[in-house]
C-alpha cells in the first residue's frame, strides 16, 4: 500500500498523553498517596565489601512512629535475577543476608508514619560489619588471590560469551594491513528524572498491589512473585506515567521489593522513593568495557576480519549484564560485512554498583570502538572514511552466520546522504572537525530471558456500540511514545480516528501480557500485536457489512476514516457506526473483540529486524582548554515506515544528546567503590545550551516483519554519537582519544603530548 493511503499513521499528531502531561495532571508513582500510607526507607551499606556479623534493629524499632524494621531474616532468602533459566546468574538478594558487595547494597528496610521519622530511624540501626578486601577494577578482580565477591564464581569470572563465524586467524594471514588497538568505554548513569519508586499495598485477602515506575509491569509482577512467594495472579502491578527508564527500570529494584515486603508484614500501604543519591549509587548503570580489537583489511579497503575481546566491569551482581556482554559482541561487527569475525566477552564481578541495561545495551560501546578504528584504518589505507564504509556496508538480505538475517537495510543511502551533506558544508573554520559514525540497532530482542510461555506482545481490541474502541495493551509507555504509536496503529487498521481509541494500559490485572519497554521492541512487537487484534475485530465488522454492500468477496471491503466501503470504489460505502451497531446486534449483544499477539520465531539470536543510520557530528575544539563544543549533529537514518513522526524525531534527538553527554561530560567518578559525583550538580548531563542544531534526514525503507513496514528508531541513536564525536575531535585537532570520556582534561593532555612529540620530531625532520 502506498504511503499516501494511510489516514493516521505517518501524520504529525500530538501525543495521546499530551494534555495530561502539560497540565500537571499526569500522575507518576512519586505523586501517589494512599490513605493510611506509611513511608519506607532502606539502609544501605557504606562499605564496598563486608560480612554482616549482626544487625541490631531494636533502637530503631523503639523510635515512636516506626512500625517495623526488616532484614534478610524476614525474607524467603531467594535470589533475584532476570535470567530465570540460569539460576546461578540470579544472584541478587536485594536485602543482603551474609555479605554486602557494593557501597549501596541494601541491608535493612523500615516503615514509619512519616518520612522524617523513617530517615531518623535509619541511623538507629546498628550493623556490625567485618570489612573484607575489595576489588574495583575488573582487570585486578580476575587475579588470583583477589577477594571472592560471589562464592560460586571463582576469580570473579561472572559470564563468558563468544560469537564467531569464518576463521579469523586464517583470514588475518591473508590481509594487506592489520591494526590492533585498545579502547575503554566509560559507564553512564541513566539519569531518569523520576527516581525509582514504589507504593505497595497488601490487603487482608492476601493480594498485593504495587504502583511503580517500571519499564515492564509484567517483569515486575513475575520477579515479585519469585521473591515473595505470592502467586503471580495475586500480585497486581500498576504502572502510572513513568518519568524515564533508559534501561534502569527493568530489573526488580530495592524500592519495589522492600515496599512490597514491608506492606506484606504490616498490611498497610508503604511507599518508597529513592533519593537522588541512591539513584546514582544504588541502582544500576551502563557497563564500562575494556576492548582489544584487531582489524584486518585489503589495500582496496575491503574489510576482511575483525577480532574483538571485551572485559566488562560487571559490578556486584549480574542483572542484565550478560545481555550487554553478548550484544556488545554482536554489534562490534556492525554495520559491516565481515566474512570472518570472532568475539570473546568476559564479564567480571567487582565491588561497584552493578552494570546492566542502559539505552543501547552494549551497542554504543561497541560502536565507539569499532567506528573509531574504522577511521584509523581508513587513514592507514589512504581511503576516504565514508568510501570505506560504503564499500563494506551491510546490504539488504544479508545473513550473519548463526546470528541474524538482516532484511531491510538502506545503510548505503544513509552514507551517501551524509557524504552529500558534508560536501555541501564545505571547508570548515579552524579547529572544527566533522566525524562520522555508521550504526545499526535491533527492533526488539528475541531473548526470552524471563522464561515465560506467553507471547512477547499481546493486545486486545474491543469495539463498543458507540464506535469507541477500547485498546488493551501490556506495552509500557515510559516516555518513548508507545501509547501514541500503538493507538495510531489501532486506528489505522480499524479505519477509525485517533480520538476513537481509548487506551487501557499499565495494569497487569487488566492488560494482556507484554514484555515491556526494552530493546526497542514496542513499535515492532507490540505494534504487530495491536495490528493483529485490530484486524481480527475489523474482520467481524466486514462480515456484517458484506451483507449490505455485497462485494464479490469480503476481502474487497475496507474501512477508512469511519466508512466501510468497497476497496476499489471508496464512494460505495456505509457508516462505520451503523455497521458496529448491526454487528453487536448480530452477536446477541456482545461487544466486538479482537485479539492479537506477536512472538518472533526463527529470526536468529538477536532481533527480527534491524535499523541503520549514519551520524555526522561537527565539533569545535578549544585548544586552550580542550573543551569540545558541539556544532551540528546530522543524522541520516532509516527505520521503515514512520508511524509517529513527532515521537520518532524526539527519540532520535533525545538519544543523540544522551550519547553526546556520555561521550563528553557524563563521567561517573568513584573512589573505593563510592560514587563521588552522585548528584546533578557534579554529574554533568547536557543542558539546552550545550545542544547544537540537529538535522534529520529520513531515508525510505520498508521492513517486511514490522507493522506497515516499521522498525525501531530512537534507542539506536544512542549508538553512533561517541564514535562520531571521537572522529570529529581527531579531524579537528589531530588527537585520537581511545579512552572515554572525551573530557576537556584528556583532550588538553593529548594536545600537549602531541606538541611535545612534534617538537621532538622537528629537529629530525630538519636534518632529513
Amino acid at each position: 500500500m502506498s504511503k499516501s493511503n494511510y489516514s493516521v499513521i505517518g501524520k504529525r499528531v500530538g501525543n495521546v498523553d499530551g494534555v495530561e502531561k502539560v497540565t500537571g495532571g499526569a500522575k507518576y508513582t512519586v505523586d501517589m498517596v494512599l490513605p493510611n500510607m506509611l513511608h519506607g526507607k532502606i539502609l544501605r551499606s557504606p562499605h564496598p565489601h563486608a560480612r554482616i556479623l549482626n544487625i541490631d534493629t531494636r533502637r530503631a524499632e523503639q523510635l515512636p512512629g516506626v512500625k517495623i524494621v526488616l532484614t534478610a531474616k524476614d525474607t524467603l532468602g531467594r535470589k533475584n535475577g532476570i535470567w530465570r533459566n540460569f539460576r546461578d546468574l540470579c544472584d541478587e538478594e536485594i536485602l543482603c543476608r551474609e555479605k554486602v558487595r557494593y557501597v549501596g547494597d541494601a541491608v535493612a528496610a523500615l516503615a514509619a508514619t512519616d518520612l522524617e521519622t523513617a530517615e531518623k530511624a535509619l541511623d538507629l540501626i546498628d550493623v556490625e560489619y567485618e570489612l573484607l578486601p575489595a576489588a574495583f577494577d575488573p582487570l585486578d578482580a580476575l587475579h588470583d588471590g583477589m577477594p571472592h565477591i560471589h562464592e560460586d564464581f571463582e576469580r570473579n569470572m561472572n559470564v563468558y560469551r563468544q560469537i564467531e563465524w569464518g576463521d579469523v586467524e586464517e583470514a588475518f594471514s591473508q590481509c594487506d594491513h592489520i591494526r590492533e588497538d585498545t579502547f575503554y568505554c566509560s559507564s553512564q548513569a541513566h539519569g531518569c528524572l523520576e527516581p525509582h519508586c514504589a507504593l505497595a499495598s497488601f490487603s487482608h485477602d492476601g493480594k498485593l498491589t504495587v504502583w511503580t515506575s517500571t519499564q515492564s509491569a509484567y517483569y515486575t509482577q513475575l520477579l515479585l512473585s519469585d521473591m515473595t512467594g505470592l502467586r503471580e495472579g495475586d500480585i497486581k502491578v500498576i504502572k502510572p506515567h513513568v518519568g524515564g527508564g533508559f534501561g534502569s527500570k527493568l530489573s526488580l529494584d530495592s524500592a519495589q521489593y522492600c515496599a512490597a515486603l514491608l506492606s506484606m508484614k504490616l498490611t498497610r500501604p508503604v511507599k518508597i522513593v529513592l533519593t537522588r543519591a541512591e539513584e546514582f549509587g544504588a541502582t544500576k548503570r551502563r557497563t564500562a568495557i575494556h576492548y582489544k580489537v584487531k582489524l584486518g583489511a585489503m589495500k582496496d579497503g575491503t574489510l576482511v576480519a575483525r577480532k574483538v575481546q571485551a572485559i566488562t566491569e560487571g559490578g556486584a551482581y549480574t542483572a542484565m549484564g550478560g545481555t550487554a556482554l553478548y550484544l556488545t559482541g554482536f554489534f562490534s561487527s556492525f554495520p559491516y560485512k565481515f566474512d570472518h569475525y570472532q568475539y570473546d566477552g568476559f564479564r567480571v564481578y567487582t565491588n561497584n554498583e552493578t552494570a546492566s541495561a542502559c539505552r543501547g545495551f552494549g551497542a554504543p560501546q561497541a560502536n565507539f570502538v569499532s567506528e573509531s578504528q574504522i577511521d584509523m584504518m581508513a587513514e592507514d589505507l589512504g581511503i576516504d572514511p565514508i568510501e570505506l564504509r560504503i564499500k563494506n556496508a551491510i546490504t539488504p538480505n544479508h545473513e550473519i552466520p548463526g546470528q541474524a538475517t538482516i532484511r531491510s537495510c538502506e545503510l548505503r543511502q544513509c552514507l551517501e546522504a551524509i557524504d552529500k551533506w558534508i560536501k555541501e558544508r564545505g571547508p570548515l573554520p579552524p579547529n572544527h572537525g566533522i566525524g562520522v559514525s555508521a550504526y545499526g540497532f535491533m527492533s526488539g530482542g528475541i531473548f526470552n530471558w524471563i522464561d515465560t510461555p506467553y507471547a512477547f506482545s499481546s493486545a486486545l481490541v474491543k469495539i463498543n456500540v458507540d464506535g469507541k474502541v477500547d485498546l488493551f495493551i501490556g506495552a509500557n509507555e515510559i516516555g518513548q511514545g508507545s501509547n501514541t504509536t500503538l493507538s495510531m496503529i489501532c486506528a489505522e487498521e480499524l479505519g477509525v480516528r485517533l480520538e476513537d481509541i481509548t487506551l487501557h494500559t499499565g495494569d497487569t490485572s487488566v492488560c494482556p501480557v507484554d514484555l515491556g519497554a526494552w530493546g526497542s521492541r514496542q513499535t515492532l512487537m507490540s505494534g504487530n500485536a495491536v495490528k493483529m487484534a485490530a484486524l481480527e475485530a475489523k474482520k467481524q465488522l466486514l462480515e456484517v457489512a458484506f451483507h449490505t454492500l455485497k462485494p464479490n468477496v469480503v476481502y474487497d471491503l475496507d474501512i477508512k476514516d469511519r466508512r466501510v466501503h468497497l476497496a476499489e470504489r471508496p464512494r460505495r460505502g456505509i457508516s462505520y457506526f451503523d455497521v458496529v451497531k448491526d454487528a453487536i446486534r448480530g452477536k446477541e449483544g456482545q461487544a466486538i473483540i479482537g485479539r492479537g499477539h506477536y512472538t518472533p520465531h526463527g529470526k536468529g539470536m538477536i532481533s527480527p529486524a534491524y535499523s541503520f543510520g549514519v551520524q555526522a557530528v561537527e565539533v569545535k575544539v578549544d585548544r586552550q582548554t580542550g573543551k569540545v563544543e558541539l556544532k551540528k549533529i546530522v543524522t541520516a537514518h532509516e527505520c521503515g515506515q514512520v508511524i509517529n513522526p513527532i515521537g520518532l524525531e524526539g527519540q532520535v534527538e533525545g538519544a543523540s544528546v544522551m550519547a553526546a553527554g556520555w561521550a563528553l561530560t557524563e563521567e561517573l567518578k568513584s573512589r573505593n567503590g563510592k560514587i563521588l559525583n552522585g548528584d546533578f550538580r557534579d554529574y554533568k548531563m547536557l543542558l539546552a545550551e550545550d545542544v547544537p542544531e540537529m538535522i534529520l534526514i529520513e531515508v525510505d525503507s520498508y521492513e517486511p516483519e514490522g507493522p506497515y513496514g516499521a522498525k525501531e528508531a530512537g534507542e539506536g541513536l544512542t549508538v553512533p554519537g561517541a564514535g562520531a564525536i571521537a572522529n570529529a575531535v581527531y579531524n579537528a585537532v589531530g588527537v585520537r582519544i581511545t579512552q572515554m570520556p572525551l573530557s576537556a582534561e584528556k583532550i588538553l593532555q593529548a594536545l600537549e603530548e602531541k606538541k611535545r612529540t612534534q617538537k621532538e620530531v622537528d629537529p629530525f625532520e630538519a636534518v632529513a
Binding site: 582487570l139 580476575l142 588470583d144 571463582e154 576469580r155 569470572m157 563468558y160 560469551r161 563468544q162 564467531e164 586467524e169 575481546q309 572485559i311 570473546d344 568476559f346
Partner: protein, 76 residues
C-alpha cells in the same frame, strides 16, 4: 584432519577451535572435563582474557590434541 570434542564429539579442523567450543559451551560436563585434565577451566579462561594471543585456549588445544588418541578420560 578432524578433531573431536572429547565431551560431545562435535568435530573441527583445528584443536584451537575445539578448545574455543569447550569454553564457549562451558556447561558442567565440559567444565568438568577440562578440570579433570590437571588444569583449571577458570584459570585458562582468565589467561585467555588477560594474556596476549590465545594463551589460555592454546593450553587446552594441546590437551585436546593429545586426547584424540583416546588415552584421556572422557567425562559426561
Amino acid at each position: 584432519m578432524y578433531l573431536k570434542c572429547p565431551v560431545c564429539k562435535k568435530e573441527w579442523n583445528a584443536s584451537l577451535k575445539v578448545a574455543r567450543h569447550i569454553f564457549g559451551n562451558g556447561d558442567k560436563a565440559h567444565r568438568a572435563w577440562v578440570n579433570s585434565q590437571g588444569v583449571s577451566f577458570t584459570d585458562l579462561l582468565i589467561r585467555q582474557a588477560t594474556g596476549s594471543g590465545n594463551q589460555g585456549f592454546m593450553v587446552l588445544a594441546k590437551i585436546v590434541e593429545s586426547s584424540q588418541d583416546g588415552t584421556s578420560g572422557v567425562a559426561g
